[in-house]
Subunit: 395 residues, 2 copies
Amino acid sequence: MRMLSEANGSIAGAGALLNIMRDGRARTRAELIQLTGLARSTLAQRLDALLSRQWIVPTEEAISSGGRPAVAFTFNRTARVVLAADLGATHARVAVTDLGTAVLAERAAEVPIDRGPEETLGWLQHTFEEMLAETGHRPDEICGIGVGLPGPVEHSSGRPVNPPIMPGWDGFPVPEWLGSRLGAPVLVDNDVNIMALGEHWAARPEADHLIFIKIGTGIGCGIISDRRLHRGAQGAAGDIGHIQVASALDTVCRCGNVGCLEAVASGAAISAKLCAAGVAAEDSRDVVRLVRGGNTQAVQLIRQAGREVGDVLASIVNFFNPSVIVVGGDISEAGEQVLAGLREVIYSRSLPLATQHLTITGSELGDRAGVIGAAVMVIEHVLAPGSVDRSVSPA
Amino acid sequence: MRMLSEANGSIAGAGALLNIMRDGRARTRAELIQLTGLARSTLAQRLDALLSRQWIVPTEEAISSGGRPAVAFTFNRTARVVLAADLGATHARVAVTDLGTAVLAERAAEVPIDRGPEETLGWLQHTFEEMLAETGHRPDEICGIGVGLPGPVEHSSGRPVNPPIMPGWDGFPVPEWLGSRLGAPVLVDNDVNIMALGEHWAARPEADHLIFIKIGTGIGCGIISDRRLHRGAQGAAGDIGHIQVASALDTVCRCGNVGCLEAVASGAAISAKLCAAGVAAEDSRDVVRLVRGGNTQAVQLIRQAGREVGDVLASIVNFFNPSVIVVGGDISEAGEQVLAGLREVIYSRSLPLATQHLTITGSELGDRAGVIGAAVMVIEHVLAPGSVDRSVSPA
């Protein structure tokens, strides 16, 4: 049944045609007929639908021998803009991109998420409007809005689900609130999922199975299985911060359980340990600053944290057999000091077959992974065949 | 680039047409043109290709009002047969099925895998030939052969990779050996992957994300992500028997590491513990027999094994967020005694969001999960659009 509807979508619609043209090559009617097997009249209807929405544009290509040049068509990546935001616990990064994730405008700001949804999203709406104006685009050119949040999100509804560090956000209708004010569809996901999407798209497009682990105030991961985001049954996949580790059984976590990874290896846990030892460290960034400055206690703690994260990842490598593990988040900016402990445990604990070609590396996009991923989430959604079909068919 | 080739495959080929027809509904030319947008002449070519190979058959449907009945076409699930085998450490189960996994003939036998590939596969070839004759089918009607093996397999080549309990099988070209003798393509995978495929297809088709865990002599799992088998980068995904558990740190595993799940919770580990306590138990089946007979030590050990497996699965539930966990393998036949310990730990350790709708259950197919899954593996492969396109195009 599922196969039927997928096949229908692919064969029948303008969306499938656009999917072929997304690679940017110009193609004539004759080429498209040969490629798709569509009847000439059907192809004409599909092309008209896409042209009227400017998803594609005609270009003159001098490919016919003699005679007048044949008209060809290409994907128009500037047809629309995407609004993308990565909202963290305290910082936000916001961008306007084209349909190829090229950044047209970008901003970073201190925006505490605990001020609640209306104040935060109000700021976001205002910022999006300003940036859109800067780029010279009109509101009707927004094809979609992507937002990452630092907590669990039910992806289908776009609503946060009991997010621990986001008071007032539980069940808040983010897509409706933002969509009604900006006049475009809104997709919401948790921050680690969009970071995985961004890193995969921009830096590791060849990887079939990728895990993006974020070590910041908390710890979580985004999972790419067979080149697609694996969100799990309740959208809760990747929540590894509360996996139990043997070395932490005497530590109570904010979740109420004992022994959670996050309670010993997160930025919050490391800075608490440093404070207890008389070293001033308020958050993840302070920890990284101390490590870079060569503070021995900070270096020891961060290597140990790497080992504890490695302990959890060693099991995940056996279970999931990824080709790449990317480490991001504030703490990852301590670089090789984190990766060392992590690699040490994974290579000694995981099965040789699963580690022989495994790459363990820092994030290439760094603190831009989330905002690029938010744009990717929108682009993959609006350019999906079924979605394009709905947008070009008469209401 | 990837999208392009996928889209081409879907739009262009006879395979996409067959994919539409796999649901078994009869459809006329007019319906198929409407459904696909294909030109009448293109559709005719595709239908001819499928008819000549008997993938579809014409049926007369009296759907036209008055006039003569229009010709319709339906998928022909009896067009070909599949040979399927699930080879375990000591037992084998073999079947001949149609393209809908209906079993036409089936056998179970004691076949020790450690006799090496030539003797084992020689027996398999002979058995397949006998069973095919029983069903009245000819060798040229075999569309493919699926084989499950009790060890790691590189799925792309079909060769075992350092399989610990299969002396002589490392790198053995199973597909070439069997394919050249039976004249059909051969697909090979490890036993737990095909069990996951079989259980998902036959008993849990609605589950998007499923984990099938086999607890027998060893422990392993098969993973369904977004309704597809997740094999991982080296085909090693699901090898959870060597994940470290805290309660086993004083136990050396046959893999050389300490603390592996398999070293404390497998059928082999439980029967060894029973023997050490003076209770005669040679293997998993003896353990199950003792549990069913109410032997207190066996019951205690099997509940503890359930807790240890639950400990590993609790982490996997947080990471992967499956909708269903199916427990199979010999030890699972102890039923609720195993499931009790497993559920106890998962529900207390995993995140509430990930367990609120989680089903943890025994296998419905039991010891037929593997052989049905081997047939599913072949059917999904031979009926994939690209595969059909190659088979119907002139050489």
